[in-house]
């Protein structure tokens, strides 16, 4: 009985707070953020947080969205879809957020997207790579402002075709939606540019020991190893590859998030020679980006990576959409977001109306001497790929 009473009182407290505040013009616009604050992807969540907070500070300093300040509420996703769904439900139902973002794990984005559909809210991911989010598993309530696996792979494959044609490639991805999607996307690109695929293995997220996966790599003797592990997983994979003397004769390519400003320090020399296709680099030499990098560094004491930049950019997309719609109403904002073109640190992005995927310029970035260097640039329309979403 006491447990029921306590639940009741919790309920009372929650609802009383909501009932007591009538909607005012200066009411904040609430944006929920479900992002990993602990675990393998904590570093990614940290970039997401810095990017969103910087954007919110700037928007609020300039008068907010339609005169209403932006308020962010954070919850730890733990890179786990079941946790993400519960935290998102709390933000939607208890905190009554108007919009939600931050999910990193592609499985989390898909699961939270389904929840958003049922709750009649909109979400956007600024991180998840899995193509399915804006393809066969697309949702009218889900937007993606970052580059998906296909876009990254198209960029990386253009480099491969030029530098290592006919390369023999082995793939090692994290064992979940994102890993399988990135490997499949790059594999089809390798086949397209004339390379050959030797085999693929998938290691669970948060693996501590990758050495048992090395046997198949050794057996097939690849010239190129493609990997899409991320966060602290990359640190362990690269140091173990180096420890076992495998980095000497293999070129390592990877997904956008594999090596970033967040983990390159911990990887150290093992990161040298790594190449990736990515939608953002702190090296982009436009005045907008230089201003952004400076502001980001002042706030976070580190360089932004793709996650920080894409999350920062999202707030401005939402701002533009709400102002165009004249309200935070789900249907109106959705209409405003579809086809929206807005300015971000990395240049203009456009949200494709057909599948809610952002089209953006892609870059090939190579690590040399612990520094990221932009090697080449691929125009947005060449990288985005076909719209295969049939749900709306």
């Amino acid at each position: 009985m006491t447990s029921t009473l306590r639940l009741l009182s919790a309920l009372l407290a929650g609802t009383a707070a909501i009932a007591a505040t009538p909607a005012l013009a200066a009411d904040p616009i609430k944006i929920g953020v479900v992002t990993p604050l602990s675990g393998t992807y904590a570093g990614i969540g940290q970039q997401v947080r810095w990017g969103l907070e910087l954007a919110a500070t700037e928007v609020n300093a300039a008068g907010g969205i339609m005169g209403r300040p932006v308020e962010l509420s954070f919850e730890d996703e733990e890179a786990n879809p079941s946790v993400a769904v519960q935290k998102a439900e709390k933000l939607f139902q208890v905190n009554k957020v108007d919009f939600l973002t931050g999910t990193v794990n592609s499985g989390s984005t898909l699961a939270v997207g389904q929840l958003a559909e049922r709750a009649g809210k909109l979400i956007a991911t600024t991180v998840s790579f899995a193509d399915s989010i804006t393809a066969d598993k697309c949702s009218p309530n889900v937007f993606r402002v970052n580059a998906r696996a296909g876009q990254q792979s198209a960029a990386l494959a253009s480099w491969l075709a030029k530098e290592k044609p006919q390369a023999k490639v082995f793939y090692l991805g994290p064992d979940y939606e994102m890993g399988r999607s990135t490997v499949a996307a790059f594999r089809s690109n390798v086949d397209r540019v004339g390379g050959s695929s030797l085999g693929e293995v998938f290691a669970p997220l948060d693996s501590k020991d990758y050495t048992q996966y090395f046997g198949q790599i050794r057996a097939t003797r690849p010239q190129v190893l493609y990997t899409s592990v991320a966060g602290t997983d990359t640190v362990r994979l690269f140091t173990q590859l180096q420890e076992f003397g495998l980095l000497g004769n293999i070129t390592v390519l990877g997904a956008s998030g594999t090596v970033t400003a967040q983990n390159i320090g911990a990887i150290g020399k093992a990161a040298d020679g790594f190449v990736t296709g990515v939608g953002y680099s702190a090296e982009i030499a436009t005045p907008e980006n230089k201003r952004f990098v400076e502001a980001f560094k002042a706030a976070a004491k580190t360089d932004p990576d793709l996650y920080g930049a894409d999350s920062y950019g999202l707030i401005f997309a939402y701002k533009a959409a709400v102002e165009k719609a004249g309200s935070t109403d789900t249907d109106k904002v959705r209409e405003a977001l579809r086809g929206l073109t807005w300015k971000t640190p990395q240049g203009e992005k456009t949200l494709r109306a057909g599948d809610h995927q952002a089209e953006q310029t892609m870059y090939v970035v190579r690590v040399a001497g612990g520094q990221f260097k932009i090697v080449s640039e691929i125009p947005g329309p060449d990288a985005i790929g076909a719209d295969t979403c049939t749900k709306f």
Binding site: G39, A42, D209, Q212, A219, F244
Partner: protein, 296 residues
């Protein structure tokens, strides 16, 4: 030529990697099996003591103590903790109705608390201590990282030392006597209570030592005990609950199965295989490959 090349470059490195993992698992399983063999207690918090050892090493290492000293200091630090847990907690329910179940539950609860305390004290994120010895050597054309080689040798020494203590010393004889028949041992003047608490503390200290040795390879984080302990439990069950020889044989065998199978199938599928072996073993021979401590 191709065969030799396959052996040197593919099979042998995989087996060496498996051996390093095997020795690591045996180290953890050793404490588990001694505690079961003597006290009839399935120590569900064993994985958390392994994590505790790694964190104590991390904390002491951060104030500048060298790794080599930690190999001795950390197990010593865990001894009194293990002793107090046995006297203060396990003994409270030891003589109650169903000893197996209540001690299993109690240590399960203790594991949750230790894990959360570690999270509270050190945060949820992994820490990666520097590898004490870097680089690698070539043995018969097989490249082996130095630290893994050290782990294999050090682990073998520890395992041999534990076996020597249990089977060759007067202390070990008392432990085995107490395991075989506690009343008989007591009447012969063996301080059974101290032997019980001491054996538990010894098992916990071994888990802590494993934590120190494995931290540079597997990183240090509060839930580090969870995955590893599942494999250690499997090893103890297959080898025979309470058997030291069984833990060594089963530990090395199961990790070689994993390592070699990983060449041909996706390594993630080796988990169900190993757990499947455990279930089959429990069905056909629940006492495991070898008899238990004091009985063989």
């Amino acid at each position: 030529m191709a065969v030799l090349d396959y052996l040197q470059f593919v099979l042998a490195p995989q087996m060496v990697t498996g051996l390093a993992l095997g020795v690591a698992v045996v180290l953890v399983a050793l404490g588990l099996t001694i505690i079961f063999g003597l006290l009839d207690v399935i120590n569900m918090s064993h994985g958390e003591f392994y994590a505790l050892g790694a964190f104590v090493a991390l904390a002491l290492g951060s104030i500048g103590l060298p790794f080599w000293l930690l190999l001795i200091l950390v197990p010593l630090a865990l001894l009194p903790i293990g002793y107090m847990v046995e006297r203060g907690l396990i003994q409270r329910v030891f003589h109650g109705g169903d000893r197996h179940v209540t001690t299993l539950l109690l240590t399960f609860g203790l594991g949750l608390v230790i894990e959360d305390v570690l999270k509270l004290a050190f945060g949820p994120n992994p820490h990666r201590p520097e590898t004490p010895i870097s680089g690698g050597v070539e043995l018969l054309g097989v490249f082996v990282p130095n630290y893994r080689l050290f782990l294999i040798i050090a682990g073998a020494v520890v395992i041999a030392a534990v076996a020597a203590v249990v089977y060759r010393t007067r202390l070990g004889a008392m432990v085995r006597a107490a395991a075989y028949d506690r009343h008989m041992a007591a009447s012969l003047g063996v301080p059974v209570k101290q032997v019980y608490a001491g054996a538990f503390a010894f098992g916990v200290a071994l888990a802590g030592l494993a934590g120190v040795l494995l931290a540079p390879i597997y990183s240090v984080f509060p839930t580090m005990g969870r995955d590893f302990i599942l494999l250690a439990f499997t090893v103890v069950i297959v080898g025979g609950m309470g058997s030291i020889a069984g833990a060594v044989v089963a530990g090395l065998f199961l990790t070689q199965v994993q390592a070699i199978a990983s060449l041909y199938i996706s390594p993630v599928w080796t988990d169900p295989i190993v757990f499947g072996i455990m279930v089959v073993m429990l069905m056909v021979r629940p006492q495991g490959l070898f008899g238990r401590l004091g009985h063989a």
